[in-house]
């Protein structure tokens, strides 16, 4: 059962400028969907964050970096962005960066995640 859509990279490669730097790419991709998750297909924590959103009835857009020809660059850029040891999973809601797993969890517990999702149109009551 898949609640998310995995985008194919080919479409984007063909139609977008390849001069775009990774971070710009990330920003662009993040703004195109309500909930965007950058993931690696073999990463179990990414699996956990996907399950979290699916369990809440949200359909996030997943980008598997290991399936992307320029995935490594994006990973490096994300690592720098987060200042963390691991690039994935990273969650964007409404085009804005939420963060890695710990930030996502914290925001869910303190009750800020759901309003954010509703605001981005990813969730309805």
């Amino acid at each position: 059962m898949q609640c998310y859509r995995s985008e194919t990279w080919g479409y984007y490669m063909a139609s977008r400028s390849s001069l775009e730097n990774p971070l710009e790419r990330v920003a662009r991709l993040a703004s195109e969907s309500a909930v965007v998750i950058f993931s690696v297909s073999s990463c179990c924590m990414c699996h956990a964050v996907k399950r979290l959103f699916c369990g809440m009835g949200v359909n996030p857009t997943i980008y598997e970096l290991d399936h992307d020809p320029r995935g490594m660059e994006i990973e490096r850029a994300l690592t720098r962005l987060l200042g963390a040891s691991s690039a994935v999973p990273v969650v964007f809601i409404g085009g804005k960066l939420v963060g890695a797993m710990d930030r996502v969890m914290a925001s869910h517990i303190n009750g800020t995640l759901v309003p954010l999702l509703k605001e981005a149109g990813a969730m309805w009551l």
């Binding site: 179990c44 699996h47 956990a48 369990g55 710990d102």
Partner: protein, 487 residues
């Protein structure tokens, strides 16, 4: 057990009665070893020798004035080597009277035949040896005569009869009657052999166990040495058990200290509530308690880096806590469920807040659990898959995957920490104080339950089928009923 009958150490396995009426059945028998050996022919085997010794021992005991001391064993042990000439045996006996080592060697040889636990049999041997010395000495002359006649009679079994000679000296010449072996004797002797064999095997197993333990000990010492040299031991000799990592040992110490702090915080909360402190003062105490919990999560984070298994298997907690462990700690949604009943009265807004906190923690727990399941599955696939030649590569991949375990424990602790912080936000200061007091008491009781459980009387007459304490109590009231299928 001091005082073994001849060959009786074998009997120690077959029954306690053997020691006290060892050979009552053999009273009617005159165990003439020589004639027995005559009957059995020339082939020598230890089994027969044992039997002969048994019978000899019986005879001697029967003839003894002081029945309390069992005899013949040291002499019997000495007679283990019938190929030795009589004179040599006497000399050996004589020398072993004075020297300790020969006695030991002979006794130990006897042990291989006549089994039994080393210390007791050695003691018995030396007891008997001493006894023998006092008794054997007065009759050297008579003994020589008897032996000569016996030698002539027994022919090929000459050596055995020679061996038996010192034992025989006590019986008069007229007592060389035919000995009849009845079924009971045969059975008993067979039991002796079996018991002796069992004892030998037991001893061998024990020695092997000792050997392997010794090897393991040296290995552990080497590991310890290596770990020390790598500077993993902080604060010199944490005194950790050999099979606990240094990171785990350090964390256990820190956790113990944290528990003591917890008691202190709890008393502060209790007195603060009862003293009806102002909200401001109470807030300080409550925030102090939150920091106290922040501290343990920090410690756990460091411990997860050095020994994640120690955390995730709950070896740092008590058994009862460990039973209900979730990802290396308490399950936040369970804690909230427990608290809901205890936190009355709550405003409607607070109720909504608490319930949504419970729901979100449940969702987060579920997500983490599923992630961990996937990690486990992936690990299993890695370890199980691959050909023999790929072994090392698969191990490397598996190690990489295993390193993700730390991340899950960290996220779980993060969840726990966030839950406590959120509780603090939802509740008023007084409510929060009561809430944390309840939490502290709850885990205190869980820990106490572990201690009580481990110190409960084990040989209860209650069958193990009872699942809860109340049922057990009921059963105790009616002991005669069929609740106890074990009886």
């Amino acid at each position: 057990m001091a005082g073994h009958t001849v060959g009786g150490t074998g009997l120690s396995d077959s029954g306690p009665s053997n020691h006290h009426i060892p050979y009552g059945v053999l009273h009617g028998i005159n165990p003439v070893t020589t004639s027995f050996i005559n009957q059995e022919g020339s082939a020598f085997d230890f089994g027969e020798l044992e039997e002969a010794i048994v019978l000899q021992g019986v005879k001697i005991r029967n003839d003894e004035a002081s029945a309390s001391l069992y005899t013949g064993r040291p002499a019997a042990t000495l007679e283990m080597f019938p190929s030795w000439p009589m004179r040599f045996q006497q000399t050996v006996r004589g020398s072993s009277k004075s020297g300790g080592e020969s006695t030991d060697s002979l006794s130990s040889k006897a042990e291989t035949q006549l089994e039994a636990e080393s210390p007791s049999s050695k003691k018995a041997s030396s007891d008997q040896q001493t006894f023998d010395q006092t008794h054997l000495q007065p009759l050297p002359g008579q003994q020589q005569l008897e032996m000569a006649s016996d030698n002539i009679r027994t022919g090929p079994s000459q050596n055995q009869s020679v061996a038996k000679q010192p034992l025989e000296k006590r019986k008069g010449p007229g007592s060389t009657s035919e000995r009849t072996l009845d079924a009971k004797t045969l059975r008993r002797l067979a039991q002796n052999r079996e018991a002796a064999k069992k004892s030998r095997l037991r001893k061998k197993a024990y020695v092997q166990q000792l050997e392997s333990s010794r090897i393991k000990l040296t290995q552990l010492e080497q590991e310890l040495q290596r770990a020390r040299s790598q500077g993993l031991f902080l604060g010199g000799g944490a005194g950790a058990g050999v099979d606990i990592s240094s990171g785990a040992a350090i964390f256990d110490m820190e956790y113990a200290r944290w528990l003591e702090d917890d008691h202190r915080h709890m008393s502060e909360l209790r007195t603060g509530l009862h003293a009806h402190l102002s909200d401001g003062d109470l807030r300080v105490i409550v925030d102090g308690y939150i920091s106290h919990y922040d501290e343990i999560f920090q410690l756990k984070g460091a411990a997860a880096k050095s020994d994640v298994f120690h955390l995730i298997t709950g070896m740092w907690t008590t058994p009862a806590e460990r039973c209900f462990l979730w990802m290396g700690g308490f399950r936040p949604s369970e804690l909230i469920k427990m608290l809901i009943a205890q936190l009355d009265p709550l405003t409607e807004q607070q109720v909504v807040g608490i319930y949504s906190l419970q729901q979100s923690s449940q969702q987060a727990e579920e997500a983490l659990s599923q992630g961990l399941d996937q990690l486990q599955q992936s690990l299993i696939d890695t370890i199980a898959g691959g050909s023999v030649s790929d072994g090392m590569q698969h191990m490397i991949v598996a190690l990489g995957k295993l390193s993700n375990l730390e991340g899950f424990v960290r996220q779980a602790d993060n969840l726990r920490q966030q839950t406590l912080h959120q509780l603090r936000r939802i509740l008023t200061v007084r409510q929060a104080a009561r809430c944390f007091l309840v939490i502290g008491e709850y885990y205190g009781r869980l820990r106490a339950l572990s201690s009580l459980w481990s110190s409960r009387p084990r040989e209860s007459l209650i069958s193990d089928d009872s699942s809860c304490q109340t049922t057990t109590d009921l059963q105790m009231v009616h002991p005669t009923q069929s609740h106890f299928p074990n009886f």
